[in-house]
Amino acid sequence: MANSLGFQGDGGSVLSMEHVRSLTDLQDLKEAYERLCAEEKDVESELLTLLGQQTIVEKKMLALQRMGPNLQLIEGDAQQLSGMITFTCNLAENVSSKVRQLDLAKSRLYQAIQRADDILDLKFCMDGVQTAMKNEDYEQAAAHIHRYLCLDKSVIELSRQGKEGNIIEANLHHLQEAEQHLKVVVSEKFDAATKSGDLPQVERFFKIFPLLGLHEEGISKFSGYLCKQVAKKAEENLQLALGTEGGERRAALIFADTLTLLFEGIARIVETHQPILETYYGPGRLYMLIKHLQAECDRQVEKVVDKFVQHRDYHRKFQQVQSCMMRGSSTDKIEPRDLDPILSEVTLMSARTELYLRFIKRRVVSDFEVGDSMATEEVKQEHLQNLDKLIKHCLLSCSVQELIGYYITMEEFYMRESVNKAVAMDTCERGQLISSMVDDVFYIVKKCIGRALSSSSIDCLCAMINLSTTMLESDFREVLCNKLRMGFPATTFQDIQRGVTSAVNLMQSSLQQGKFDTKGIESNDEAKMSFLVSLNNVEVCSENIMTLKKNLENDCNKMFSQGLGGEQAKAKIDSCLSDMASVSNKFKDLLQEGLGELNSTAVKPQVKPWINLFLSVSHNIEEEEFNDYEANDPWVQQFIVNLEQLMAEFKAGLSSVIYENLTSLLTSLIAMELEKVVLKSTFSRLGGLQFDKELRSLIAYLTTVTTWTIRDKFARLTQMATILNLERVTEILDYWGPNSGPLTWRLTPAEVRQVLALRIDFRSEDIKRLRL
């Protein structure tokens, strides 16, 4: 309000003087005047209200003046309060610092008490040790020493500086002496107990070592004791083994058994003493014990293996085998069967070793797992690597690896020689589809790989799989290949058909063969059978290889499920087995080659002339001849009879799978050859009908002898028969192009014309005019 007043007062009014002065119009002046009057009235009323408020303001001023002294009082009070607060604060700080000091004092007091306790303990230990030693209570003494060793070294240092420093110094000296003395005594007692073979005493002192902080020494001393036991037992066992009579039940496996006893002994030791070790030495220390035991194990294994090599003449046998394999010399020939026992024994030794090492590994790894649960990854890795190295490179592993190395060569020799024998003694009973060698060879291979598998050594198994694959793929396949290469001799049946001259030849040749027979050359029949048997052999081989592979896979899975080998081993075996499977395919290829050979040498030369006879039967015939043909079939029935005779021999001599294959080849051959002769013939309307009948009979017959569908192979011929059966040339259009319906033409337009032209009653102009 003051503002608006001020504003108005400042300018006097809303209307400035200049504005008023500049007014010239009366009307305007009047307006201005009225506005000014109204303004004056407003101002007057405002002034009146302001004057009316004067008394209230004065009253308020009075009240304010009365409050003045009160305010001074309040200020004084406030100052007093502030002073008090500052004082209190200082006081509080004082108190708290005192509390802090008290606290410190208290904790120092506790420390002092602790130290006093420690010193008392120390004293107690000193006294205790001495009395315990006097009483030969070594456990108690060791417990005191252990207590002393657990004490804070600074406490001991401090207590020396105390008032009674000298006494304590002397006592400490005693204590240290006692400690040294105890160590010596325990060692001596332990050694004495060891010497007398007093197991409870040995174990008693074994438990004391860790109390004296002598973990390693304890374990090494204890291991020494255990090793001596192992050695003693092993020595006895070896002597027993060497004294074994040849006739005893397990005489042939006596060294493997001796090795087994050694391993079992060590395993038993681990079983028995691991709990004590774990209780008194803590987890993670088994490795140390095993390391000592393994050294003794290695020493004993060396002796056993040495004796084995010596008594079984292992190296000489190996060298003999090697020279046999290198030169194939027969001067110093080894009978493979004679190797059987030694091969079995070596694989058993290897298997026992693998089992033992797996046991050791499992035990130590689980012990490390507990002991290293707080350790860093690096420490864990290092521990496991150490274990791995110990197991992989210990003398035991090396010795067995060496034995297995020789074994593989000898097993290979065994396999090759046995297979050679099986091949040499190969016979085939009449009525048997395959000859004896196939079963024999696979029996041998299975036996050899099985023996390698029983060694539990993955590398050994893989090597034998590889060597078997090689033997089957090159050597044995070569044997079968050579038999097939001798070929299938042409049949005598064929010769008879060729007439009397050949019959004479036949007589002569059989006479000659009679002569040759005495010289050991197979007769025709035998040669034929031999060829068919070889074909069957090849097929069975390819099947047997797959069976062998499958069985080996199962065996290996069993082995893996028992925890032998890892991913790596699995991959290795898989790879070796897949190589074996590919050999199966090579036998399949060989089978196809043999079949092709059979088809081209035995089937085709016979079947072709029979089909060519079609040409000598006129198909340019009239009603009368057609009826005559009906009564006396001119060609197809005889052809079918011939085919039946030809295939009977193969049906009897070949496995059903191969026979199927052969009939398939036969039907293809017939279809192709028949097509050729048809295209060389001429036909009348009835001749076409005759051909259609003939073709139907033939297809009907062939359908009965094969399980494959043969309609497809005869599709072209069937279509040719259809064409040859037409009434008129243009009738073809009912079957051609858009009218062909479900029929797919296998003949080209040119061929259709060619076939149409075979009908003598069709005019060539009509055929030319056809739009196909």
Partner: protein, 203 residues
């Protein structure tokens, strides 16, 4: 298993004296590692690496064999199925070079005749201790018709090259064989009867 995703599969077997660095070469190539203080290999180890060359996936099956004598009968059994052999020696070890003829005799005896053999002189990072000069090794490799390469598994020198070059040669060899096979072996059985038919038509 045979339906895996690769165009070629080759088996490569590393052979040579103990301690010449076969395992390190394989580890370097397959895992990019050089593990120092490697213990001697036991028997054979088996690694797989698939590489791509000119858009084709090549699966390399690498067999790392133990050099020690007692594993010889195991390692020999792998020679025959090998497509390539990497005969390795240590350039700082005259002895390992002098044994090469013996290794070649083994290859002659056990490997298949089409095998490709590469001679590798390893450990060229230790050049100051070299005992076998490059020229001498090259001459030797030349007389035996072998490809020669010097490598360092430690420094990763030529390791990649060794295996990739080998893979390339194996591919071209495989292609050539496929070609030869297609020419001389007509499909057995039916194939032969077709040729027969052709000569008949001729008559």
């Amino acid at each position: 298993m045979s339906m895996e995703d690769y165009d070629f599969l080759f088996k490569i077997v590393l052979i040579g004296n103990a301690g010449v660095g076969k395992t390190c070469l394989v580890r370097r190539f397959t895992q990019g590692l050089f593990p120092p203080g490697q213990g001697a290999t036991i028997g054979v180890d088996f690694m797989i690496k698939t590489v791509e060359i000119k858009g084709e996936k090549i699966k390399l099956q690498i067999w790392d064999t133990a050099g020690q004598e007692r594993f010889r009968s195991i390692t020999q059994s792998y020679y025959r199925s090998a497509n390539a052999l990497i005969l390795t020696y240590d350039i700082t070890c005259e002895e390992s070079f002098r044994c090469l003829p013996e290794w070649l005799r083994e290859i002659e005896q056990y490997a298949n005749s089409e095998v490709i053999t590469v001679l590798v002189g390893n450990k060229i990072d230790l050049a100051e201790r070299r005992e076998v000069s490059q020229q001498r090794a090259e001459e030797f490799a030349g007389t035996q018709n072998m490809y020669y390469l010097e490598t360092s598994a430690k420094e990763s020198d030529n390791v990649e090259k060794l295996f990739l070059d080998l893979a390339c040669r194996l591919i071209s060899e495989a292609r050539q064989n496929a070609l030869v096979n297609n020419v001389d072996s007509s499909l057995p059985g039916e194939g032969k009867s077709i040729t027969y038919l052709n000569c008949c038509n001729f008559n």
